[in-house]
């Protein structure tokens, strides 16, 4: 099995071809049956057909959320499902647009359509994230695990504090600020906003390292040696925290689009229910 295939190249783009064929068929039927008769929109036989196909597609696309949690399911692979999800979801752009017959207004019908566009747009962000960030994450972690990095940071923290003990209070104050980050929560990771900010946050470790460097030359003898070691330890810790933050940022980016995609998809299903009920209520 070719595990390395991305979801876009799954089975040599089988679902891409399927989606393209569906789009072409829809366009062909629309072009031969619908134009200018003003019957193109939902209320025609063609409209009902396209609408039914689109609605069933939406329900099936929603089912990915169930399938990906069903670890015991043997109904295809999640990779295959995701590939189909991406391409068939994108095909809705054509099918549902033809279903509208290019009739738009301030109503539940167009609301459903707009929600669908938003779901597809957020899904496109997801595809981008799935293609881009895993590569960057591997590059960033460079054969290390997040846990190992965190342990290293904790070790460096201890080392910094130990080195600072024999140095004056001003150095200690700086080290305390610089190592508090690891000792206290919410300096790495934390809120979604902080996670997305990555290494662009005001990092206490980085600030401490800079301050320690600025103090250089003030000490003599054994204190100067200790200070030198402290500066290097703090600098190494700064590099590591930045790597951790970048990793957390990538992890956050890998998932943040789902906060738009999933709720919007549910909003879409609700709007579709209202849309279908309303068009059949007032036929």
């Amino acid at each position: 099995m070719r595990h390395q295939d991305s979801i876009l190249e799954y089975r040599a783009g089988f679902y891409l071809k399927l989606a393209l064929a569906a789009c072409l068929a829809a366009v062909a039927v629309f072009a031969t049956h619908a134009p200018a008769t003003r019957q193109a929109y939902g209320a025609s036989a063609l409209g009902y057909t396209l609408g039914t196909i689109a609605a069933l597609l939406v329900l099936w696309l929603m089912a990915l959320g169930v399938r990906k949690r069903g670890y015991r399911s043997r109904l295809g692979t999640v990779q295959g499902w995701t590939s189909a999800h991406v391409y068939l979801g994108a095909s809705l752009l054509v099918i549902a647009t033809l279903h509208t017959g290019f009739e738009f207004g301030w109503n539940v019908h167009t609301l459903s359509y707009v929600l669908m566009l938003l779901v597809i747009a957020s899904g496109a962000l997801g595809v981008y994230a799935y293609l881009r960030y895993p590569v960057l994450m591997t590059k960033n972690m460079a054969d290390e695990t997040l846990e190992a990095l965190v342990l290293k940071i904790a070790d460096l923290d201890r080392k910094c504090r130990r080195l600072a003990l024999d140095l004056p209070d001003e150095v200690n104050a700086i080290v305390a600020r610089g190592t508090r980050s690891a000792a206290r929560e919410a300096r790495i990771g934390g809120s979604l906003r902080r996670q997305l900010a990555g290494d662009a946050v005001a990092c206490p470790t980085r600030a401490a390292a800079a301050e320690l460097v600025a103090l250089g030359g003030r000490y003599k003898g054994e204190q100067a040696a200790l200070h030198g070691q402290l500066v290097s330890a703090m600098a190494r810790k700064s590099v590591l925290t930045d790597r951790v933050r970048r990793d957390l940022r990538y992890r956050a980016l890998m998932h943040v689009w789902l906060y738009a995609h999933v709720p919007l998809a549910f909003a879409l299903v609700a709007a579709l229910i209202a849309h279908v009920v309303s068009v059949f209520y007032f036929r």
């Binding site: 109503n107 200690n172 906060y259 068009v279």
Partner: protein, 544 residues
Amino acid sequence: MAKREERRLTGNVFQIGRGAQCQIHLPDTRVALVHARLVLGEHGSVIEADRHRIVYNDREVSGAELRVGDHIEIGPYVLSVETAPPGVALAIAVRVSKRVSTSGTRALYRALLRGPRLSKRRLSYLVFFGVLVLCLAAPIADRLAGDGSTLTRALALGAMQAWNPGPLSRAHAVFGRDCQSCHVRPFVAVAAEDCLGCHRSIRAHGPKEAFRAVSFAAGADLTCMQCHHEHQGGVMASRSPQICAQCHGGARPVAAGAQPIKATDFASDHPGFRLALVDPARPGALRRVAQRDASGAPPQEQSNLKFNHTLHLDPRGVRGPREARTALNCASCHEPGEGGSRMRPVSMERHCARCHSLQFEPGSAARQVPHGSLEQVRTMLREFYARSVLADAPAAQNARGVERVRPGAVVSPEERREAARLADEKASRALRELLETRKVCSTCHYVGRTARGDWQIAPVAISASWMPGASFDHARHATEPCITCHEVRSSRRAEDIAMPDIARCRDCHGGAAATPPKVASDCASCHRFHGGSSAWRELAHAPE
């Protein structure tokens, strides 16, 4: 419990701090070199902060008196005052606080695992039910409220609008929010009957029987909605040629028994015109005739009239009985009818009589026979000559004597019979002169005799409308001279038909997609779906 180590210190003042010189040594970055001092006095022990932060029983202080049970926080350390053993002034336990972790690893992991407060699932439920309430429940509440309580109405006001797929057409905008005006029953499609409730006088496209065998779409009856689409604003009637092409595209018979006609585009796919001719043999019945028959010859109209356009349109004019030559033009005889779209029928009295006098007696030039049936003419002539004969009678000249003899008996029966005979004879002579000798009637009419020898004028059968299926408007073509379409200058016989053929129309009119200089013309430019004239509706199924 962690292992406890005990140390005894002697002295009165003890330094607490990170520094090596401190008696109470707290090795941590967050502790100052000398953080605080512990002073033992005679009346008790005191802790004093050395410009640094200490927390005494959870309060930040600069110094405090120590009692058993107190605890002081310095950096990560907690110093607890314990009950001193005998001979000892003060006992203090030093431990690292659990509240401030030094390893950091666990805290870091806690941070990593913490997601945003609003989960995807909760957010999804929220928007799902939010949209359902706004887009489904509110409109239904609005609908159910109807003209109910003002509160319900105010709450749901306009929610129904959310279901409206588009603006109503101009004509139906008056219904506003009353959806049930057309949508009579929930979950049942609007049917033609719902439209016909108001549109009572609308004409069908053709006789119902004709379409019964030819279902319009997928076995369904012809419904209004096949051509008229509501909720798209503007006007509901579609002008799209594709709609007509559904049946007139040649794919299937137009109607049971009708001629198969294929017409999808005026410029490229439209049959030649057919003329509606009145058949003199079958009065009232129309016949459809192609403008060119198989041999290419134009059809002839059997109107039983004689007319020479060339003669009447002589540029030098025509000679009338009273005046010199008068030049005639089309408008001399062809006047626009009401509204200007069609021409009024030519009338003998209005258009011909000025020149074509029906006078019969040279002595009475002012008198003319009526332009009517032979019977009317004969009656008029008899009455005229009867009066004339009686006026000439000798008895009549002696009016006073007659009155004296007997009122009412002006002339004797013999004289009366003689006068009547004389009058009839004169009338017959005048009639014969009109019909035969002077050829007054036969100038325009075909005069003959029946088998019994009676005079007979061939019945006139003029087409009232040459193309009843087309809604032509002369007024809209007024910028063109008549002869552009009706070339009659060389026509010498009434049998000639001067109707333009499709090629002439195509000089200016293109198909639905035509661009200037051609006039874009779709089906509805000339044809009316809902039946135009009844003559056309009959014609639609008339034989060739």
